[in-house]
């Protein structure tokens, strides 16, 4: 895979990715922090009380964004998994693996906040509602991905198996949702949960959108940071990685490393070894 002429493939080279993530994350952190503050302010001090649910509806400002992020991150993880399986770009696997814990946490938070919102609204922390149940299953899919990835001795092999699982899961998510939805309407008749009441006040919608953007930026920042570590841990012997770990990755070092980087194909191994002049790189880079 020496398609270095294709511009977007530039960041498939770990050193370039590392540099890009270094440049992006401060802005993402700042944006996330700022939007969290603004969103919380609008959510708590501008948005009016809901005339039916009282103040408990404010949980929506974190429940809905976390639920969206959980689903979005799963699909993104499956997409990166597919890129890894088809083009063998290792950075895609690093991204997918970096997404999984954050996706699982977002899904967990969606369940947690959903339970605490449900208690005052429908009088129960948990009901076997279609959305709750399929979100729970989504959490299991995240956990399965992480467990399978971690269980393999060989990082590359584990990554491929886990990527395949993520894709199968992504194909199944709509089927699971449909079947659970059907099961629920069959068993319950009328829905206990009505979230679509009267149309939302504009301040509420604003708070919701701002919080969603804040969660999105936070997830992007933390995923990029984790993917950076994945990249370093895969090539602990490489000069660029050691320089990056010391916080002193020069532009020249990065470009030199990227020019000969192991983007992913198996044949690139020798190239990578001559680059570092370290025969142990290959073994340790994989484990």
């Amino acid at each position: 895979m020496s398609a270095r002429s294709i511009p977007w493939l530039k960041y498939a080279a770990p050193p370039n990715f590392y540099g890009l993530a270094d440049r992006l994350t401060p802005w993402l952190w700042a944006g996330a922090g700022l939007l969290f503050l603004v969103g919380l302010y609008v959510g708590f001090f501008v948005a009016p009380v809901d005339y039916q649910q009282g103040n408990s509806y404010r949980i929506m400002f974190i429940h809905v964004p976390t639920a969206w992020m959980g689903m979005f991150l799963y699909l993104l993880m499956a997409l990166y998994g597919m890129i890894f399986l088809v083009w063998r770009i290792r950075m895609a696997d690093a991204m997918a693996r970096a997404i999984a814990p954050t996706g699982a946490l977002m899904t967990f938070l969606a369940l947690w906040t959903g339970a605490l919102w449900g208690a005052p609204t429908w009088g129960a922390y948990w009901v076997w509602d279609a959305r709750l149940t399929s979100t729970l299953i989504l959490l299991f899919l995240f956990l399965g991905y992480m467990a399978l990835h971690a269980a393999a001795d060989d990082r590359d092999k584990g990554g491929r198996a886990a990527s395949l699982l993520a894709i199968i899961g992504a194909v199944n998510v709509p089927i699971i949702y449909f079947s659970v939805n059907w099961w629920y309407t069959l068993h319950q008749g009328a829905s206990v949960i009505r979230r679509d009441g009267p149309s939302m006040a504009p301040e509420m919608l604003a708070a919701l959108l701002i919080m969603t953007a804040a969660f999105w930026l936070y997830c992007a920042a933390i995923v990029l940071r984790r993917a950076q570590l994945e990249a370093l841990e895969r090539e602990p012997g490489a000069e660029w990685a050691q320089a990056a770990a010391a916080g002193a990755l020069t532009r020249e070092q990065r470009e030199r490393a990227a020019a000969t980087a192991t983007i992913g194909d198996v044949g690139d191994h020798d190239e990578g070894d001559t680059l570092t002049g370290n025969t142990a790189t290959k073994q340790e880079g994989r484990n």
Partner: protein
């Protein structure tokens, strides 16, 4: 090509028949899990009847899961799988043949036994027929999905428990539709819709799952 696949199917069946113990173990597991339900819930017939479809289906799903655990493991360890991957037939067809043999030997007995167990939980007449029919359509899907998990966890530490975590979420739609069909039959409502959807699931899984299994096997063999 068809003939060599037939040979493979026969070989796998013969291997399973040689280890009758495995078949007996899975059948016994299925029966014991169902026996646990009355013991845990109590003997009242009405209550048992309401949980009967779910109980039989959950037991079938678990039995399918534990029986699939070693579907590829032996062939993988002794190198047969590598030979099969190098043979001229597509690996997906080889996988399909193996799953088919496994289903005939280990899931068909459960289907055959299910009316008796359903009866013991209070199902009657046509409900028993729907139960057996739903299992007949549904268990191949379970086998196909489970085989993906078996292939993905080849050569991985803690394979069994991991496989349950990977595969049980994917079993959800089959379980919902299968148990749902029987429940519908109990209330004299239309169960055909459930069975049709289950059949649609089988029609989708039959061509697609072997491709996924073959992909997973290639990863394990690499």
């Amino acid at each position: 090509m068809g003939r060599s696949l037939w040979t493979l199917l026969q070989r796998d069946l013969a291997l399973i028949v040689m280890r009758r113990q495995d078949v007996l173990t899975v059948v016994a597991f299925f029966v014991i899990v169902i026996t646990l339900f009355p013991l845990a819930i109590g003997p009242e017939p009405e209550r048992l009847r309401t949980i009967a479809p779910g109980a039989v289906w959950v037991a079938a799903a678990l039995a399918s899961l534990i029986s699939l655990d070693r579907l590829f493991a032996d062939d993988w360890r002794d190198g047969t799988l590598e030979q099969l991957a190098l043979s001229p037939q597509p690996l997906a067809l080889v996988a399909l043949a193996k799953v088919a043999a496994h289903w005939c030997a280990l899931s068909l007995p459960l289907v055959a036994l299910s009316p008796a167990l359903g009866y013991s939980l209070g199902l009657t007449g046509s409900e028993l027929a729907v139960l057996a029919l739903s299992l007949l359509i549904g268990t191949p899907v379970l086998s196909l999905l489970g085989a993906i998990g078996a292939a993905l966890t080849l050569g991985v530490r803690a394979g069994g428990a991991l496989m349950a975590l990977l595969i049980l979420p994917l079993y959800v739609p089959v379980l919902v539709l299968g148990a749902g069909a029987v429940t519908e039959a109990m209330y004299d409502s239309a169960f055909q819709a459930h069975l049709s959807l289950l059949g649609a699931g089988l029609a989708v899984a039959l061509p697609l799952a072997p491709l996924a299994i073959a992909g997973a096997l290639r990863i394990a063999l690499d």
